[in-house]
């Protein structure tokens, strides 16, 4: 292992390859961009319409709910731009048996498969989400202090980690059942529920979205951290939980890789 600098160089290479690839399809880039912006609008309209009738919903004002939607759009961009395409490529590798070529390379396999395919146009979603969040704060006439920004960024990073770890687990499943592309489709649909503050959900659904499939951790907590309403204990617990989950996913991935190697030899 060459340490950090090797992986930094490798990451840069991977990003450059993805960019070069995407730049071959400039018109697609433009169209995808317009469609992305359009979908941000589709996500916002129900909220605008419903808040036209009510001051607050489940204890959230319109502007606060906007911050959650902003987080949702941003994370969706990360999911569709950086996580899903790369890991779907692994499924293809496993099916075709070409994963051997990846495993033979003198770098960590999980790192390689996680960075091979990035879709630059999803950055538009990430920016779109950020703009929605900024707009919400401008409307409120306040801005988060440095502590809140740091906390928000921290919880958001934890959210990305959780999202990525769930994907790693799904991909590990691919070593056993191969057909997981539909599972990814299902997950993307369930992720749609993360667009509302978690307090909208009640009873067992809220429990499931907090602890089993932690959608609350992904959008509501980062938004609350920015708004300065997240308790420090929840912040610490969710960050530690995310780290523990990532370690667990890593172990499962290693087990799965071992199984793959022994199956082909």
């Amino acid at each position: 292992m060459g340490g950090w600098s090797k992986y930094r160089r490798l990451l840069w290479m991977q990003i450059r390859t993805s960019l070069t690839y995407a730049m071959q399809y400039r018109l697609d880039f433009l169209i995808e961009g317009v469609v992305s912006i359009f979908w941000v609008g589709v996500t916002l309209i129900p909220l605008i319409v419903v808040f036209g009738k009510r001051e607050t919903i489940a204890g959230w004002t319109y502007d606060e709910a906007l911050v959650v939607v902003g987080m949702f759009v941003l994370l969706k961009g990360v999911l569709e731009g950086a996580i899903t395409p790369s890991l779907m490529a692994v499924v293809e590798h496993i099916r075709k048996g070409t994963l051997d070529f990846v495993l033979l390379k003198p770098a960590d396999a999980q790192f390689l498969v996680s960075t091979t395919k990035l879709q630059p146009w999803s950055l538009i979603d990430v920016f779109g989400g950020a703009i929605v969040i900024v707009a919400a704060f401008v409307r409120m006439g306040t801005h988060p202090g440095p502590v809140q920004v740091a906390a928000g960024a921290g919880v958001l990073a934890a959210a990305v980690l959780v999202l990525y770890s769930i994907w790693i687990l799904v991909i590990s499943l691919a070593f056993f059942v191969v057909r997981v592309d539909n599972l990814s489709y299902l997950f993307t649909s369930i992720f749609d529920a993360a667009r509302w503050p978690i307090s909208v959900f009640r009873g067992p659904v809220r429990f499931a979205f907090t602890f089993i499939l932690p959608l609350a951790v992904m959008t509501t907590y980062p938004a609350m951290a920015l708004l300065g309403t997240l308790e420090t204990s929840v912040l610490l617990a969710s960050t530690l939980g995310a780290l523990a989950f990532a370690v667990f996913a890593r172990q499962v991935w290693k087990q799965a890789i071992r199984r793959y190697t022994s199956a082909s030899s």
């Binding site: 018109l27 697609d28 169209i31 995808e32 469609v35 359009f38 979908w39 609008g41 589709v42 309209i45 129900p46 319409v49 419903v50 036209g52 009738k53 009510r54 919903i57 489940a58 057909r179 539909n182 599972l183 489709y185 299902l186 993307t188 649909s189 369930i190 749609d192 529920a193 667009r195 509302w196 307090s199 909208v200 959900f201 009640r202 659904v205």
Partner: protein, 265 residues
């Protein structure tokens, strides 16, 4: 031409059904991925718990979204994906060799999946009757009208998709166009929100558009929210739109296929 289609129809349906059964797991995932009605149900139910919204109390809201899910499940089509893929890959040529209009074979494969969808629809209907016994209309005439409206909604959905599929003869971006259509459809059809929640000007314009015929009309009939006059007008409007869009689809197909043949040499 028509006689041939009628003779081949039962066989086409059998083939389509066998396909649906062969891909039953994918099929199930695909239906389970229709999460949007439930995501919206969570939000709206939270809103309605604090008091009626536009005449909808919590039970009405539950009935509304269950009916929406049912309508979506029974009126789904995927001809636009089949067409764009076959045109791009050139496999459309195989379909053209058959002595039957491709629209007929697409329609039969879409319809043949209905029994499998129905298997999911029936338990949902039971749930609906248990959760909100008063939600569903008990008038058999309106239920019959709802069944007819669902059939018409499917036809309209299928033909609009076929029109957009024909765009693939000319442009690569037919799927992007479909995404835009889907977004507008989600908002204006009543799929995301009951149309009564929208501001009056939006509703006035929407009266003249086809979107509301595809979700709002069948759902309103099912829930018994329309009088006899409105039901008949709605069904007649659906029929007019089907004739119009059907003609457009045929025109687009004829001119598109001429171009396609020129490509094939």
């Amino acid at each position: 031409m028509l006689r041939r289609a009628i003779t081949a129809w039962p066989t086409l349906l059998r083939v389509g059904f066998a396909e649906a059964v062969a891909y039953r797991a994918e099929f199930l995932v695909w239906i389970l991925s229709t999460t949007m009605p439930f995501v919206m149900l969570a939000l709206m139910s939270s809103v309605a718990s604090e008091g009626k919204i536009e005449g909808f109390d919590q039970k009405d809201i539950t009935a509304y979204y269950l009916a929406t899910f049912l309508t979506r499940t029974l009126t789904g089509a995927w001809v636009v994906w089949e067409m764009t893929q076959e045109i791009r890959q050139g496999t459309m040529a195989l379909r053209l060799l058959r002595p039957i209009h491709p629209f007929v074979s697409y329609a039969s494969s879409n319809l043949a999946a209905l029994p499998l969808r129905g298997m999911l629809a029936v338990p949902l209907l039971v749930v609906m009757l248990v959760v909100t016994p008063q939600g569903l209309t008990h008038d058999i005439r309106f239920l019959a009208a709802a069944v007819l409206a669902i059939a018409f909604a499917w036809a309209l959905n299928f033909l609009i998709m076929a029109c957009i599929g024909c765009v693939a003869f000319y442009a690569e971006s037919a799927t992007s166009l479909f995404e835009v259509w889907l977004g507008v459809w989600m908002i204006l059809s009543g799929y995301l929100l009951p149309l009564a929640l929208f501001p009056a000007p939006v509703r006035a314009v929407n009266e003249y558009l086809p979107f509301r015929l595809m979700v709002d009309l069948p759902v309103s009939l099912m829930l018994g929210r329309l009088d006899g006059q409105a039901a008949l007008t709605g069904l007649a409007t659906q029929a007019v739109w089907i004739a119009g869009v059907g003609t457009l689809a045929m025109v687009l197909w004829r001119s598109g296929i001429r171009r396609y043949q020129a490509f094939g040499g």
